[in-house]
């Protein structure tokens, strides 16, 4: 359990450091969503399932959708069908 927890914590740090270093905004958003997923798993391992459900729904689903829509509105999604 501790090993898995340490791996997840290392993943958190890697995601947090990688998100601002990505060249494309789309990649930044995806790395940020990965951060949220890892955080949700960590919440459930720390025995707070209420927080884990909310993190998974809001942090991964809803904020991801809002980020993608904003990127689409400012025409930052290069290479997709709309451009």
């Amino acid at each position: 359990m501790t090993i898995l927890e340490n791996i997840l914590l290392a993943g958190l740090i890697i995601c947090a450091a990688a998100a601002p270093l990505c060249k494309r905004l789309l990649a930044t958003v995806i790395v940020y969503l990965a951060f949220s997923v890892i955080l949700a798993v960590l919440w459930s391992m720390l025995q707070s399932p209420d927080l884990a459900i909310t993190e998974a729904a809001v942090g991964t689903g809803i904020s991801g959708i809002l980020f993608f829509l904003t990127l689409k509105k400012i025409r930052a999604l290069k290479g997709t069908r709309d451009e």
Binding site: D50, T54, I62
Partner: protein, 297 residues
Amino acid sequence: MSDGREKSAWRRFADWVNGDSEPIDRTTQYVMNRRPPRQEEPPELHEQRERLRLKKFLGLYPLAAGFLCVALIAILFATVIYIPPFGQPGNPTNNEVSRHYLEYTEEETGATNAVTGMILSYRGFDTLGESCVLFLAVSSVMMLLQRDKNNTDEQTLHRLRREDAIERTHPDNILRKSAKLLTPFILLFALYVLFNGEISPGGGFSGGAILGGGLILYSSAYGPEQLSRLLTRSLYDTVRITGLMAYALTYGIYIFAGANGIKLEMEWMMIVIDLAVGLVVACTIYGFYTMFQRGKV
């Protein structure tokens, strides 16, 4: 403004808020007429100055960003040193408040899940404030992004029509099939999380978020028209406002009865508050999506 006299005070106020009214007093008009025209500077000079500014900015930006990062990391690490170790019994968080919550939640509020009982009853005002924040957030997003005949030009309409045409001629089959398969289960799970929040992990916020996510999935797979035929603008507004008002009313009764020592059955109140929070959250999330995507519900 020729018919200025006939306009009602409310109409004039609305014009003033929208920025449509002309300056009425004569001093303002005089100043506006007498203002000297702006002096144009030669474009090459302007360009040179802007380039210099950009160069200075790009030189300073990494330095400032690096300094801020290092300072923030140092402050956070210094704070972490003083945080008590995780999960120790002698920590300051394990005081009589949390002990009271854990021991008496089931008996006082009727909720088996102490977290939901605490959020919706002991700290109900806190949650009411959060619901108001969400309500106001979606209202202000509507103010900024809603499309009507005053702020939509031909170009935007053309772009929207083109997107619709692409959507019709090239439907995304993977998205449609998976949405068709998943949406009922997502909505069912949302209702389970919403109504079962007192017994199992979950509650209003997470259930509402999952409900909104299911609606967004359906709307993005089948186009916004499909869902807006069912969930019209008036229904959307009704649900949003009713949710917040039901919360305020129920929690008001709850507080009033508790303060005056009246015994009430608390079980249904928790469910009503749960449902109200869930509806407000779901409407907020769905409203954000539709406002960002199409500019209307």
